[in-house]
């Protein structure tokens, strides 16, 4: 069980895998909203998301611009740039697990939480459903993920996808 605390935040998930998918979905939606509201400027499509129902897995890819810095202890910091602007990307963290205040940063933060959680599993059984790479030269963090889900058909024909708590 990979518990995620959502207290007071904009996320509703209670597991890390679900929180990651939810964060990606919210950023994906924010990009769509921003692009629709600004048709005369270059669209931002830094995150893509789809769901395949034969394999029951989300396929997620994100390219997030970031600025590498060092903190006062000399530790490496990857600060994701809010490339959508606060009008579209504001995130309320509350007192939940994630601390980011914009959706762009939130996606990398929860991705890191999920990746770290995977690494707590014994090597022989360790899943590798999410990969993160940081390219300091380009200033781009790349996330790829295949997150399993369950699907349920509701009373009005809607389909509800719930990310599996696989770690």
């Amino acid at each position: 069980m990979s518990a995620y605390t959502n207290t007071g935040s904009d996320l509703d998930s209670t597991t890390i895998a679900s929180a990651f998918v939810e964060a990606v979905r919210r950023l994906n939606e924010a990009e769509i909203t921003r692009n629709a509201a600004n048709p005369s400027v270059t669209p931002k499509n830094n995150v893509t998301m789809s769901a395949a129902f034969d394999g029951k897995a989300y396929s997620i890819a994100a390219s997030l611009p970031y600025v590498p810095t060092l903190n006062t202890s000399g530790q490496y910091i990857a600060d994701v740039t809010d490339y959508l602007g606060s009008t579209y990307s504001t995130f309320t963290p509350g007192t939940g697990t994630a601390k980011s205040t914009d959706l762009c940063s939130l996606v990398l933060e929860v991705a890191q939480l999920l990746s770290a959680k995977e690494k707590t599993v014994a090597e022989a059984d360790r899943p590798n459903n999410i990969q993160i790479s940081l390219d300091d030269e380009a200033g781009v963090a790349t996330i790829t993920a295949n997150i399993p889900f369950t699907a349920a058909i509701g009373s009005a024909g809607e389909v509800t996808l719930t990310a599996l708590d696989y770690v």
């Binding site: 499509n45 789809s50 769901a51 129902f53 699907a151 809607e158 719930t162």
Partner: protein, 176 residues
């Protein structure tokens, strides 16, 4: 009989697609040595579109093409028939909107009908607010070489909503 849980034809088509997908996955779990996959469904959240592709095996008997009997489970055959029925219900709606009719003949002199017994589609299409002139979101071909019905569909869905548990809920748009 499967309750398609839908009150529009586009939703009925998607529900039938999901039931077929689920039935095949269950079938493959029960009979791992007799795996089958005739349908592939993908939801693209960037453009809010379902993509559906299916290849349904047909048999020919007295110039009538019917969905092939499945030798492992009759239930799967029934669900495939329901999928075909939902496909042609939606095609019929698109053709009706076009003012055309579904052609009675294709590629030569073979006249065909699709048999889909034991099917109930509940409700009627609700066009309010989302009527699209001349929609072309579903199409099909009959592959006579392989005796298969090929179904292609791109069904738009509403912007997915996030439930209070963080899950993502998707509802097809009643586009036609």
């Amino acid at each position: 009989m499967t309750d398609l849980l839908a009150n529009t034809r586009s939703t009925a088509f998607m529900a039938a697609s999901f039931f077929l997908n689920e039935a095949e996955l269950e079938h493959n779990r029960i009979y791992p040595n007799y795996k089958t996959q005739t349908i592939k469904i993908t939801a693209n959240f960037d453009i809010n579109i379902y993509s559906v592709y299916a290849e349904i095996k047909l048999t020919e008997s007295n110039a009538v093409l019917a969905v092939e009997e499945n030798t492992v489970t009759e239930d799967l055959t029934t669900i495939r028939e329901e999928f075909v029925a939902a496909t042609f219900e939606l095609l019929q709606l698109e053709y009706d909107i076009d003012g055309d009719l579904i052609p009675a003949e294709v590629e030569g002199s073979v006249t065909y009908t699709f048999q889909y017994p034991d099917l109930t589609l509940t409700g009627t299409p609700s066009d309010a607010g989302t009527f699209t002139a001349n929609p072309k979101n579903i199409d099909y071909e009959v592959d006579y070489e392989r005796m298969k019905l090929l179904v292609f569909a791109t069904i738009p869905f509403k912007s997915p909503t996030i439930t209070n548990s963080g899950a993502i809920s998707i509802s097809p748009i009643d586009y036609a």
